[in-house]
């Protein structure tokens, strides 16, 4: 059931307005905090207010402007979009609190927090985009708004990382735009409100071209190998930004674009007959394994997390390209599962760095005794990535495996198992070092991170467990994912 409602527009618009206020009145600390928290909270409340309706299958749409002949800007909160919006907007509140604590002594806070607030507004815009053009618009805005955050420290290293980031993502964006124009040329519409708008009559060659353009365009942001070069370098950014880049907004926007391409532009039925998704799945599998192997050899904690992200985002791509209902469920819920676990880890990395100044893995011996709660959260996230039952990551792996069996491609199971082992190989040593190795020199007394850093970390860790245990509870995000799958597969 479709209902015309202004809320899908209001969610990004209100938080845009608040972000503007951060720029205007941001010089005073309390006003800045007020407007930032307003931006995060108002948006989350608007998204949450649509949740009951969404769970009952209501789709909220709002056409902002129609330029001509199917080209326009429109918003639409369907189950898939709601899921993404829910994840990003609720994590945003946690990240905002964390960032306030983390950036307390920084000089350029107005610029930082203004763009920070803009970023997640655009993410919700991406989630609620009704057509490819609106999607593209917010997608590019996201690129632009994250750039000042990446170069925040303005060191030569940061500036060069920022240039690499812009180069990759802007060129990727251009691919998306060309693909969008071609979709419009082929079908006369660019709507994302259907389970597929292209049809086989367009010709395999042209379809392949469109698929290639859109997927390459989105894969640059999703950091699919070999287009991942910008992501590890962007680690020079402040930690809340890394959390944003890796867990919430940027890479997720790319993955979301691929999911939209597969499910809403092409449609499962069409792609099933074309076979374009097999190379994509193979590439995703390659990325999962290779990035994990590289991660093992990283000593810098944030870099290790970066490669882990590259690997984890490809789960979504892999699952989406299997084209089965179970795998689709996995693809969608992994948006939340990966986001929560990874943001926990980045929060931990930032908390350790702010509290003890340590950034490398080998320095972390004995830190579990110094910061038990923080490292406890890290352990939870690690177990989730490894795929232990009761943790969020298990759900993803379970459903991807089911999907692999459903599609008859058993070798994906091998990928899953190898990846679990590799995850264990690069996360468990950290846990081991932290809790079971004595600290070098005198044991430091217990000194936890400050509350603004610790509380968001723990909240996210608790959510990792909650997502892993409550998938059958009505009203949890999982049921939204199932609704999205039903729409995509016309069930």
């Amino acid at each position: 059931m479709e209902v015309v409602d202004i809320r899908p527009l209001l969610a990004p618009a209100m938080s845009f307005a608040c972000a503007g206020m951060v720029f205007l009145f941001g010089r005073k600390t309390h006003w800045r905090r007020f407007w930032m928290l307003s931006a995060a909270t108002i948006k989350m409340l608007i998204v949450l207010s649509m949740l009951p309706g969404s769970l009952q299958g209501v789709v909220y749409t709002f056409d902002l402007v129609d330029f001509t002949g199917g080209i326009g800007l429109g918003f639409r909160a369907d189950a898939l979009g709601m899921f993404f919006a829910l994840v990003s907007s609720s994590l945003w509140v946690a990240t905002t609190v964390y960032a306030i604590g983390y950036m307390r002594e920084d000089e350029k806070r107005v610029r930082f927090f203004g763009f920070f607030a803009l970023c997640v507004s655009t993410t919700v815009g991406i989630a609620f985009a009704e057509n490819l053009l609106t999607f593209f618009l917010f997608y590019e805005m996201l690129t632009i708004c994250t750039y000042p955050l990446v170069i925040h420290y303005e060191t030569p290293e940061a500036l060069s990382a920022g240039r690499a980031y812009l180069t990759y993502t802007l060129i990727g964006g251009a691919f998306v735009l060309v693909g969008t124009v071609m979709v419009h040329d082929a079908t006369g519409t660019i709507s994302l409100g259907h389970p597929g708008i292209l049809d086989a009559g367009i010709g395999t060659g042209r379809l392949g071209f469109i698929f290639g353009l859109l997927v390459i365009g989105f894969a640059t942001k999703a950091a699919l190998m070999p287009l991942h070069g910008w992501l590890p370098r962007a680690m020079v950014a402040p930690t809340p930004v890394s959390a944003l880049l890796h867990a919430v907004a940027v890479v997720k926007a790319g993955a979301f674009g691929i999911v939209r391409t597969v499910y809403n532009v092409f449609g499962v039925d069409l792609l099933d007959g074309l076979g374009f998704t097999l190379p994509l799945a193979a590439l995703a599998a390659f990325t999962i394994i290779t990035a994990s192997v590289i991660a093992i050899f990283q000593d810098d904690l944030k870099r290790r997390l970066a490669y882990s992200t590259i690997s984890q985002i490809s789960y979504i791509v892999l699952a989406a390209s299997m084209l089965t209902p179970f795998a689709a469920t996995a693809a969608i819920v992994h948006f939340a599962n990966q986001a929560l676990a990874k943001i926990t880890m980045f929060f931990v990395a930032g908390a350790i760095q702010r509290t003890t100044g340590k950034t490398n893995v080998h320095e972390l011996a004995g830190i579990g005794h110094q910061m038990p709660w923080t490292m406890g959260a890290f352990t939870v996230a690690s177990l989730s990535f490894i795929g232990m039952p009761l943790f969020a990551g298990f759900i993803t792996k379970w459903y991807i495996s089911l999907g692999a069996l459903e599609s008859g491609q058993w070798w994906f199971l091998l990928v899953m198992i190898t990846s679990s082992l590799l995850n264990a190989a690069y996360f468990l040593p950290i846990v081991y070092l932290a809790f079971f190795k004595p600290a070098r020199g005198a044991a430091a007394p217990m000194k936890e991170a400050r509350p603004t850093l610790l509380v968001p970390t723990l909240v996210c860790a608790i959510w990792v467990i909650a997502l892993g245990t409550t998938s059958e509870v009505a009203g949890m995000p999982f049921s939204l994912a199932e609704a999205a799958v039903r729409f995509v597969f016309r069930m």
């Binding site: 402007v65 330029f67 001509t68 080209i71 800007l73 610029r111 053009l133 618009l137 590019e140 632009i144 750039y147 000042p148 812009l166 802007l170 060129i171 964006g173 251009a174 735009l177 060309v178 124009v181 071609m182 419009h184 040329d185 071209f209």
Partner: protein, 499 residues
């Protein structure tokens, strides 16, 4: 007297007569020329509004001065493409308004001669208006000369040494192109014995004699007009000329005068498409390629400019590339997009040059490095500049978006997806410049005290800038209107005569 049928004659005569009388009224008082020029442009704009309203109601129409009917008399013909007089009058009017304060900052020699400055500006507008509404080939040439000659002089008003050089280069290239056009018109007259455009088309239709002269004429016309439009590789005169001229003049030159070349091309195309003499595929291909190269090259050079006006000049080359490419694609979408971009680019580029002009007027600086932090000092001007920049990149919902989308669609419609790529990558390059500009204007610390302490532009500059900036947005949201308006014109352009 009922003026309804005579507006078409008045719109041509008013600015020319006004221009001639400006030095005379200057004898009354130092400030009179400004008011005189403003009222002249007001009357002209009113005439333009009437004409555009009329074409909305009844479609294309003609005016026959003195009752001498075509093909003997000189015919004025107003079709959908002539509707560009609307934007010529608007930008011209605003440029005069903008100049009222800007002339204070002109160099010494020009400040004493402001009446002549207004004369030139009015002549320029009058020439453009005449060019777009005439139905006669020789008349076309005369008006082209009127606007070109006044254009050369206006560039030189900038006063620095570079301005003189730029004006001379412009003159040289312009004179050659005028010569080519004149020769070609002579050829066509020799073949057909008529100068009326519609009549030439009709006589060339089913023409039995040797076709070589007509082909040579076509080549000369296209090269001539391409020079005026600054299509690569005939663009060399443009960057210096447009960057060196006073800012309101740059707005007129960059927004409007180069379009004359494009409109000339459209008129030529009408003749040759209509007559069906030649298969224009090869010529179109050349135009597409030249357009593509202009897009990329213009955008590429724009990105590396530190001087804001020079960047805008290069971006004009890039945008002319879009228009020429759209024309060359010869598909409905492509030509519609190109035609509307003639109109929209005029608005956008005038916005940009006005905004930059206001900034230069207030601060005296014109490079990105010097202008750091100006966005905070001159917020309204900088906002207008940002709107213009977003439009020139073609981000929805601004004026630049739909045209580029249509041209890209045209490329796919013509089964040339490669040029769709070129188009979008050109936009991407300009986008990078825009990021640099916003970064410098808003996020960098000022290096000069003048910039940090600058106030927003005076009303006479701010008003034109903001009016145009809001039009950039309005034309984006109402983008459907010009697209549907131009459609019958494009259909007529692409169709062969009698079929």
């Amino acid at each position: 007297m009922h003026l309804w049928p005579h507006w078409l004659a008045l719109i041509v005569l008013t600015p020319l007569v006004g221009a001639a009388l400006t030095p005379v009224v200057a004898l009354i008082d130092r400030r009179t020329p400004t008011w005189w020029a403003l009222s002249t442009m007001t009357v002209t704009s009113f005439a333009a509004t009437m004409l555009v309203l009329r074409i909305f109601h009844e479609g294309p129409f003609s005016y026959v001065p003195g009752g001498w009917t075509a093909p003997y008399g000189i015919e004025l013909h107003f079709d959908e493409f002539s509707a560009v007089v609307g934007v010529i009058c608007l930008v011209g009017w605003l440029a005069v308004l903008f100049s009222s304060r800007y002339t204070d900052s002109l160099p010494e020699f020009a400040r004493g001669r402001t009446p002549y400055y207004y004369t030139l500006l009015l002549l320029n507008c009058g020439g453009m208006i005449g060019f777009t509404v005439t139905g006669d080939l020789f008349n076309l040439f005369v008006f082209m000369e009127v606007l070109s000659l006044s254009g050369y002089a206006l560039v030189a008003v900038g006063g620095e040494r570079i301005a003189e050089m730029a004006a001379f280069k412009y003159l040289l290239m312009g004179a050659i192109s005028s010569l080519l056009v004149l020769f070609a018109i002579g050829f066509l007259y020799g073949i057909t014995g008529t100068l009326n455009i519609a009549d030439v088309t009709a006589r060339l239709h089913g023409f039995e004699g040797p076709t070589a002269p007509a082909a040579v004429a076509l080549g000369m016309l296209v090269v001539g007009f391409a020079t005026k439009a600054a299509v690569f590789p005939l663009h060399v005169w443009l960057p210096d000329a447009h960057a060196a001229a006073p800012s309101p003049v740059s707005a007129v030159l960059s927004g409007l005068v180069v379009k004359v070349g494009v409109i000339g091309m459209i008129r030529v195309y009408r003749i040759y498409y209509g007559s069906g003499m030649f298969d224009l595929t090869v010529l179109n291909l050349v135009l597409i390629w030249l357009g593509a190269i202009s897009i990329v090259m213009g955008a590429f050079f724009a990105v590396f400019q530190d001087d804001v006006k020079l960047m805008l000049a290069y971006s004009t080359i890039s945008n002319i590339g879009y228009i020429v490419m759209g024309l060359g694609l010869a598909t409905t979408y492509g030509v519609i997009g190109a035609s509307v971009h003639i109109f929209n680019h005029a608005l956008i580029k005038a916005t940009l040059f006005f905004a930059v002009g206001a900034i230069i007027y207030r601060t005296g600086y014109r490079t990105l490095t010097d202008l750091r932090g100006v966005g905070r000092a001159m917020p309204l001007t900088a906002v207008a500049l940002s709107v213009g920049a977003i439009s020139i990149v073609g981000i929805p919902p601004t004026a630049g978006f739909l045209c580029k989308w249509y041209i890209a669609l045209g490329a796919f419609q013509a089964d040339r997806p490669f040029f769709g790529f070129v188009l979008i990558f050109g936009a991407l390059l300009i986008f990078i410049y825009y990021i640099r500009m916003v970064n410098a204007f808003y996020f960098r610390e000022p290096v000069h005290a003048e910039v940090a302490e600058a106030k927003d532009a005076p009303v006479s500059m701010l008003l034109p800038t903001l009016v145009l900036a809001s039009l950039c947005l309005i034309m984006g949201i109402l983008g459907r209107v010009p697209l549907t308006f131009i459609e019958p014109g494009v259909a007529r352009l692409l169709a062969p005569l009698g079929g």
